[in-house]
Amino acid sequence: MSKKSNYYNILIKRRLETLKEYLYLLKQNKLTFAALIIILFLIIIAIIAPIIVPFPSHIYGAVNPQDKLLSPSWTYLFGTDEMGRDLFSRVLYGTRISLLGSLIAVAMGLLIGVPLGLMAGFYGGFIDEFVMRIVDMFLSFPPLLLAMAIAAFLGPSLQNAIIALIVSWWPWYTRLIRGQVVSIKEREFVRAAHAIGTPSWQIMYKHILPNCISPVIVQASMDLGGIILTLAALSFLGLGAQAPIPEWGLIVNTSRTYFLKAWWYGIFPGMAIFIAVLCFNLLGDGLREVLDPKTKKY
């Protein structure tokens, strides 16, 4: 076996071992593990939603007036809304929207926030001051207000709501990472890297980042839930997804008018939001436990 393929073999084996250790630790906490399973389940639903949905045409809006506001039955598992659309199909498809939306928002937030935090912490001085003042500024905007401003400017839509959330969220990651970086950069392995002559960007991304990523991972996984919630709230207020997009918050909003007549209307999307957010929170908590002792490994 050539040295190279041997090398990759052993490397892969090692990485798998580490992954197995993490999974084992995660399994210890039953709640976290259950949350993880449910989230995987939701992800699968989100991916295959277009295929398994019973009434694909109802997702965006074939109007079906004769079946309007029917209570749950075997045909319409969650009942129908005021336009006769199958709520089960809409809520199912809504998984896709919520999960994708929050994934994009968190990913972009990390993409902007983490490098800024790394640079601020690493270089210190003026760069640090500058970035952190901007962070302070952005953190003073409540996401709702920001969303309203963007909605007023660009018009309310799902995309604009996501943009508003990215803008509100990235500063948290910057602040989180910067604090970690400041303490880690004094560690001797960083000084050793300097002494070796490793270029600064390598030190930041290969040395410092892996050591301070844990709290960010925990925060990000909880944020996936938080963003779903805020997105739903924005849609609820009319600033996010607009009809006929089957976003959970929007469905809940529309259900308000029919609240007394059709109990099933708001319950199911509401429960979907609840379950998704709860599971992400539990996962984040569990991850914190798993990742923390690892970093303290002595």
């Binding site: 052993i10 001797e188 002494a195 050591n211 490994k297």
Partner: protein, 331 residues
């Protein structure tokens, strides 16, 4: 042949202390306050001193991790603070460092092969196979088996981690290695092994060591020359044997007498110094040691003592050592 390989000329490093708003420089922390040393090739210089004496800052400055406030450091004829980029990169290959803390000096998230291979990846364009072979060889030199390549630092004991750190330091084949308290955080048995290893490597590769340690037995066993530092200055310098046998400076004397060794009889044999080390912001006037010196005189409060040459290579900075023409003390 015995040209000094590393010359430190009147090196000063002051850190500014800001206060007020808008922040103004109110004071200076005089971490290194005029250090001059000549280190010859293949020599081991031991630097001894307590906290606040400036040895860490000195080392950081030699490694160019800090810029000096004034003074020069000349490595093999070149002023290290005025180098172009290529020369800078060459410098990194000349002088390396082994740190005190064997846990945090290795990135806990990296595999050993990456840790030891990093210097090679940064400076050379080697293939994967070449780097792996070199790393294996380096680990072999320090007595670490090949299986370590794919392990993490936390899977090793303190002594083993320190050896890995030594392997990393040698990757670029430097001529100078700075050992910053290499044995302080390790158990006694690993300490002996590490010292033996260091001696062997020194002979094999003609290394020049700068050894910082507060453990006198370590310095005794390894150093050719030693420099005693106090509050940013070198107060005594000379061949290790001589300085240990007859310490000239009162601080050196107090330092040696404060540390118990196998021959110390009982607690009355160790000597405690009065007071604490003054802060580096408020350096005492005259001789900086006069506030705690058991034999301080009037002149010590007022003037800074000159460097007194006691013999060919032994010198100390103290008024009491000034001898007249017939060898009598001038005080």
């Amino acid at each position: 042949m015995n040209q000094p390989a590393l010359v430190i000329k009147n090196l000063k490093k002051y850190f500014p202390v800001y206060s007020g708003f808008p922040p103004r420089v109110k004071n200076w922390i005089k971490a290194v306050d005029g250090v001059t040393l000549n280190i010859k090739k293949v020599e081991t210089l031991g630097i001894v001193g307590e906290s606040g004496c400036g040895k860490s800052t000195l080392v950081n400055t030699i490694l160019r991790l800090e810029k000096p406030t004034s003074g020069e450091v000349i490595l093999e004829g070149k002023d290290i603070f005025h180098l172009n980029k290529r020369e800078m990169s060459r410098l990194r290959k000349e002088i390396q460092i082994v740190f005190q803390d064997p846990f945090w000096s290795l990135n806990p998230r990296w595999l050993i092969k990456d840790i030891v291979g990093e210097p090679l990846r940064v400076h050379f364009n080697l293939s994967l196979g070449e780097i792996l072979s070199k790393v294996e060889k380096l680990l072999g030199m320090v007595g670490i088996p090949k299986t370590a390549l794919y392990k993490y630092p936390h899977e090793f004991s303190g002594g083993e981690r320190q050896r890995i750190a030594i392997a990393r330091a040698l990757a670029l084949e430097p001529n100078f290695v700075i050992l910053d308290e290499p044995t302080s955080s390790i158990d006694v048995f690993s300490q002996n092994q590490i010292l033996k290893l260091l001696k062997k490597l020194k002979e094999e590769f003609n290394l020049t060591y700068i050894l910082i340690s507060h453990d006198l037995s370590v310095v005794k066993s390894m150093a050719d020359k030693i420099a005693i530092m106090y509050l940013g200055k070198v107060v005594e310098y000379g061949p290790a044997k001589k300085v240990f046998e007859s310490p000239a400076h009162p601080y050196t004397n107090a330092l040696f007498k404060a540390i118990p060794d196998a021959n110390t009889k009982d607690i009355n044999s160790i000597i405690a110094l009065e007071g604490e080390v003054p802060s580096a912001i408020n350096i005492p006037s005259g001789c900086r040691f006069h506030t705690r010196c058991p034999v301080a005189r009037e002149i010590c409060h007022k003037e800074e003592p000159p460097v007194i040459k006691l013999s060919e290579e032994h010198e100390a900075v103290c008024f009491l050592l000034k001898k007249g023409e017939r060898g009598e003390s001038l005080l």
